[in-house]
């Protein structure tokens, strides 16, 4: 992280600032997520948490009913009622039905939509790079 430099402006009668604790640094990073835009912001705030939740659900079912069975339930090949632990398997099945196609479809739709709408948005003066020699 680059250290701020230059003249120290004011603050001479303040107590010296303490070192930032690690948990505060992590908190600051999480609070800075709003700097992102569009898909990246959505992935950070919604997409990844949902994905982690689905991964936890799949992993739990994998240990309970077996990995192959969990996979078959998640993609709808096997009914969750035909497993040794139907209750958690039902949650996995519903997630597989609703969440995954919906999210993948939304991301794909966003990517395509973005590509379509960003056509011919480039400004003309980008043709000539800025002259750094002034």
């Amino acid at each position: 992280m680059p250290t701020p430099t230059g003249e120290h402006q004011g603050g001479t009668d303040l107590v010296p600032p303490p070192r930032e604790p690690l948990r505060h640094a992590v908190r600051r990073r999480l609070r800075s997520v709003g700097r992102h835009n569009g898909l990246r912001h959505w992935l950070s705030t919604r997409g990844i948490p949902v994905l982690l939740g689905y991964a936890a659900l799949f992993t739990g079912n994998g240990f309970l009913i077996g990995w192959r069975r969990a996979y078959d339930v998640s993609i709808g090949i096997t009914s969750p009622a035909d497993t040794s632990a139907p209750v958690p398997a039902w949650f996995l099945s519903v997630a597989g039905w609703l969440l995954v196609p919906g999210i993948v479809g939304a991301v794909a739709g966003y990517a395509v939509s973005n590509a379509i709408t960003s056509r011919r948005t480039r400004p003309l003066d980008e043709l000539f790079p800025e002259d750094d020699d002034g």
């Binding site: 992280m1 680059p2 701020p4 430099t5 230059g6 003249e7 120290h8 402006q9 004011g10 603050g11 009668d13 303040l14 107590v15 600032p17 303490p18 930032e20 505060h24 908190r27 600051r28 990073r29 609070r31 800075s32 709003g34 700097r35 992102h36 835009n37 990246r40």
Partner: protein
């Protein structure tokens, strides 16, 4: 990293990569009885909130978005008629 919400202590430097009103950091920290941790906590909450406001360009991302949010946050905390207030601890007294 210039993309994260800056530390208040870093904003005291001329070349910190951000623009805040003169005297803002000093008055904001004093408003919190020189409790740097509490001031930083409330500062981060304000900037996080401003990142979702229209004062930050909708197409701005990362460094540029953070610079705009920090500038707007510093301005509203320091330069509005409600001088030197913190919306999170309702500390409304003027700082000498």
């Amino acid at each position: 990293m210039a993309e994260l919400i800056p530390l208040l202590s870093d904003l005291l430097y001329a070349r910190c990569g951000f623009t805040v009103p003169d005297g803002f950091v000093e008055s904001y920290v004093k408003l919190h009885d020189q409790d740097w941790h509490r001031a930083q906590d409330h500062w981060e909450r304000v900037v996080r909130w401003v990142l979702d406001c229209r004062e930050v360009e909708s197409r701005a991302t990362s460094r540029r978005a953070m610079q705009q949010a920090v500038a707007a946050s510093g301005a509203i905390l320091h330069l509005t008629p409600l001088l030197a207030r913190c919306p999170h601890c309702r500390a409304g007294r003027r700082v000498p």
